[in-house]
Symmetry: C2
Subunit: 241 residues, 2 copies
Amino acid sequence: MPAASGGRSLRRHEVAERIKRYIIDERLRPGDPLPTELELCEALGASRSSVREAVKTLDALDIVEVRHGHGTYVGRLSMSALVEGLTFRGLLSPEDDFKVLEELLDVRELMERGMGPRIIDTLHADHLSALEALVDQMEERLGRGEDIVAVDRSFHALLLDPLGNDLVSQFSSACWEVYGVVAPHLQVSSKQDEADTVAAHRDIAAAVRAADPAAFDRAVQAHYRPARRRIAAARARGAQG
Amino acid sequence: MPAASGGRSLRRHEVAERIKRYIIDERLRPGDPLPTELELCEALGASRSSVREAVKTLDALDIVEVRHGHGTYVGRLSMSALVEGLTFRGLLSPEDDFKVLEELLDVRELMERGMGPRIIDTLHADHLSALEALVDQMEERLGRGEDIVAVDRSFHALLLDPLGNDLVSQFSSACWEVYGVVAPHLQVSSKQDEADTVAAHRDIAAAVRAADPAAFDRAVQAHYRPARRRIAAARARGAQG
DNA sequence: ACTTATTTGTTCGTATGTATG
DNA sequence: TCATACATACGAACAAATAAG
């Protein structure tokens, strides 16, 4: 019976495509409710198992979001799938364990340096104040021996977010997230040179305030240097251990 | 309450995590076979349906690959999930239809200009010859009225691939792929200014051969200008239509 | 606090399609 | 052609989470 249609395509793929089509045709937005599983079964002429498997694949891509006992909704279209995929790739590490980390740093540095001129153009007084407040906060927390990773992340998000390029913001954020999961597994500490880190952020903020693209470029480049050194050191340890 | 919302108390999430762990612990590589569904059910103490739904989520992330009637294997860890997610986001277009396209161009330009110095350092004689051969081929095809999009894509892949940063290569390639799917839906033609396009590529190749970073930067920037104009034109058409 | 209705989560049984030998 | 192993698909029943009365 189920062999009737088209032959090649699998049931769950058909169903997934038609659900995506439905979302587009109905002009639904993230958070909008989708038909229930049972309604989808009827509308698409598929069994509940097939519908469920299709919905799960869309859920993995954050195209839909399933809430137990509540319903199914249009997803946030985040980069959660990219994060999960890259994290797994980093943990699998078929060849050089540290190559993935260097690639993540490359991308983040690429984004921030490449966006330098636009950052200087776009960020206004309130952005600058927030940026400098984050550096102060970083210094305070460091003085109290607390973690600065969250503040660090906010700082870099604040550099890119105002530009309005969601793809760049989210991709950079995704790289940061993956780095945070993979680095500890490879004993790449992020607890060293923290004084240098704070100084580097202060230089970046100063360059933005001075509207000096060349200084910004140098400051960002300097900011990433310690991290690269830590990776190189960890690689050297791994090579001889 | 066993756990907070979105928690791992769900069976298929447990199963998915344990399958990922299995792949890592067993040091499996892409293409290696995984246990059959039945074996996974026994080993993980879960039903067929739960295992299947878990496997489907991993399949969507290209962490595993399922071949009908054959078996389940470790996936290629490609960026297919990112491509599908971004494509859908582009087709959904909640606000400005053309914003997504501009973001994709931003990223590609960012990558290539940011990698400029490294491209000049890394590409050797054979790379340069291949690059120039592609430009010639582009010109020939253009003279015969044929499509140059495939050659165009090869050219840009050849710029980034030799650097060895898979993340950059694949992300850039993913942006290209998404652009190719989304742009036609928005009537953003890529068939204009093709003579300019060929010239731009020739300038890029020449800058690499001359090992002139500044010229490379200018050439890449100039290369993307026509595409941005086409988007702006399409937006203007849409605004008055 | 309790019940009821709705919706997704989980399990099992069975039959079919696909690839290999 | 047949046999085997595997994934695909359907359907029914029950469990768990959530919301509303």
